[in-house]
Symmetry: C2
Subunit: 151 residues, 2 copies
């Protein structure tokens, strides 16, 4: 679980990284960062736009959302995740390297974040063996969640 402290810390880290890259703190990008910090799992660009439009304050255009997410991804502040539904989703990338993966239920579509140290260890071991400089990795499970399997 992500703590409130980690969330605010990430926002601060993101702001600093944006400034360090010589970029400015525009309204749309700041709104995207703030919104992402409050999420527990990944959001699509459209979902980000809709959430920002529903809330009071800034109502950025979809293009600005895409551009903000692109920039954040390039700065490694955000992870772009493809869960197989043809829509790119985005979630905060916490600096500690702690991250989770995703289990997608094929019946109800629910996405569950999963964390497992065994997998991470096996991945690191594999990365050692491979002549491939692994910067990021994604694992997606497809199947049926506990609730749907019970029925």
């Amino acid at each position: 679980m992500t703590t409130d402290h980690e969330r605010t810390e990430w926002v601060r880290h993101a702001d600093a990284a944006i400034a360090a890259a010589g970029l400015r703190a525009g309204g749309a990008r700041k709104a995207v960062v703030d919104l992402l910090a409050r999420q527990d799992c990944c959001l699509s660009a459209q979902e980000v736009r809709d959430a920002l439009n529903d809330a009071p304050g800034a109502t950025p255009g979809i293009a600005s959302v895409y551009r903000a997410l692109d920039t954040l991804t390039e700065l490694h502040l955000v992870h772009r995740v493809d869960l197989g539904d043809q829509v790119a989703k985005y979630e905060p990338a916490y600096p500690g390297g702690e991250h989770h993966h995703h289990a997608v239920c094929r019946e109800c579509g629910t996405v569950t974040p999963i964390a497992d140290t065994g997998i991470e260890d096996a991945l690191h071991a594999m990365a050692e063996r491979l002549r491939f400089d692994v910067e990021a990795h994604d694992i997606t499970l497809h199947g049926r969640c506990a609730r749907c399997a019970r029925r």
Copy 2:
């Protein structure tokens, strides 16, 4: 490495599964199956269409290619893979459960198939622990391939 025998066996298996589902053996779908059997890694729908148009014989429309790939995916004859470039790719799903994952180089874009038993074991162990009925899984590595890292 996939042997010629496995390839022809997969085509036969696919034909049988299509017939068993009460579907017919149309030209476009057959052409897609034959083409996929000859690939070593995943292809996008557009790549499938282009490859079929370049070769003599059937020249299916893009819609038929998408429909064929959808059907094959539903019958678990094909795996749909999302490598983060906003294009769905497809590759044969061999019945034995043997499969590989993908390493994408962020510089040259090359996709390398990777097979690793350690990862598979760790995944199975995790699937046991999770209350999630895992039917399929995807692992994607992003980073720099050996050639690009050397420069």
